[in-house]
């Protein structure tokens, strides 16, 4: 293996160490199954490696990674529509002992956002859970930044009114 390849591999290792937990959280919060979420993360990281290897022009690696994981999750649901579990049955899905906490978190957030339209719930997830800026969200969703902000505001108002109603 030549020196250039070794450099690429060490660069990939750095990205994996920095990003793997964030990517896993992103995928898990949408998929809800550890094995599948990790498969998606692996594919995304390998795509990043291929990009680095082919020296393809990437304006911002950060934005590329975010777009890749988002597209990979969408593809997952497109490929496996039969494996989607309804939210009310998600709590009964068997999980490993170590994954109970994150699975409860997955169910909690998805129940909270369940009453929102899909495009609004996704923006809330991206903003609050994945810690993205409105600019990044707008680029990812191919919408103007103002639309991303207004959808977020509407979602928050909706959640607030729902909580008031519950209490």
């Amino acid at each position: 293996m030549n020196e250039e390849t070794e450099q690429l591999l060490s660069e990939l290792e750095r990205i994996v160490v920095e990003r793997q937990d964030w990517l896993f959280r992103f995928a898990y919060m949408r998929i809800g199954v550890r094995e599948d979420a990790e498969d998606v993360v692996q594919e995304v990281l390998l795509n990043v490696f291929r990009r680095l290897r082919e020296k393809m022009h990437v304006e911002s690696l950060e934005q590329y990674v975010i777009r890749s994981i988002s597209n990979a999750c969408k593809d997952y649901f497109r490929r496996r529509p039969l494996s989607i579990v309804p939210l009310d049955k998600a709590e009964q899905v068997p999980v490993h002992e170590g994954d109970k906490q994150i699975h409860e978190e997955f169910v909690r957030i998805n129940k909270l956002l369940d009453t929102l339209p899909q495009e609004q719930s996704e923006i809330v997830r991206l903003k609050c859970y994945d810690d993205l800026t409105f600019k990044q969200i707008a680029e990812l969703q191919d919408i103007p930044e103002a639309t991303a902000k207004s959808r977020y505001r509407y979602a928050i108002m909706h959640l607030k009114s729902k909580m008031r109603g519950d209490s």
């Binding site: 293996m1 591999l9 793997q20 937990d21 990790e38 339209p117 609050c128 639309t147 505001r153 959640l159």
Partner: protein, 159 residues
């Protein structure tokens, strides 16, 4: 004048389109600021991650192993022509191999062999019968010799 008109039409269309899109998304952009900010922190706090998400310890190694596999030089020799050739040879062997002998074939073969030998022996014995024995030849030559001797004697008497 025409350009100005086009700009006005475009602006109108843009405005209409935005309204339609906003209606479709059921969005209300004019949410009062004070209403929005009230309790915002609590809701955002509630929507933030409440626990740590850790990927498996093996994930990094698996990704690096797969990346290493991708950069490894690929085999130059293709295996499928050899597989195809082996299949062709197998087919030809099956095609050319004679079928196994059955008991009936063996009986028939034995019968044919014995018939051939019997026929051959008959021919040999016929040939043996047709051949002159040594005694016959000797007898014939002796007779011929006697005849010659007498002819010689007779010719001498004449001359």
């Amino acid at each position: 004048m025409y350009i100005v008109n086009c700009q006005i039409v475009n602006a109108f269309l843009q405005h209409t389109k935005l309204h339609v899109l906003n209606d479709m998304n059921n969005e209300n952009i004019n949410i009062p600021e004070e209403d929005f900010n009230e309790g915002l922190e609590d809701i955002e706090q509630m929507l933030n991650p409440q626990c740590e998400f850790k990927a498996s310890d093996t994930l990094k190694d698996e990704v690096l192993a797969r990346a290493r596999q991708e950069v490894k030089p690929q085999r130059k020799v293709k295996i499928w022509p050899w597989v195809a050739a082996a299949c062709a040879v197998g087919f030809l062997m099956l095609w050319l191999t004679p079928p196994e002998k059955t008991q009936r074939d063996e009986v028939l073969h034995a019968y044919l062999v014995s018939a051939y030998h019997a026929k051959h022996q008959l021919e040999v014995s016929n040939q043996m019968d047709a051949r002159e024995s040594f005694e016959d030849i000797e007898r014939r030559l002796r007779i011929e010799g006697v005849q010659l001797k007498e002819e010689f004697k007779m010719s001498n008497q004449i001359y």
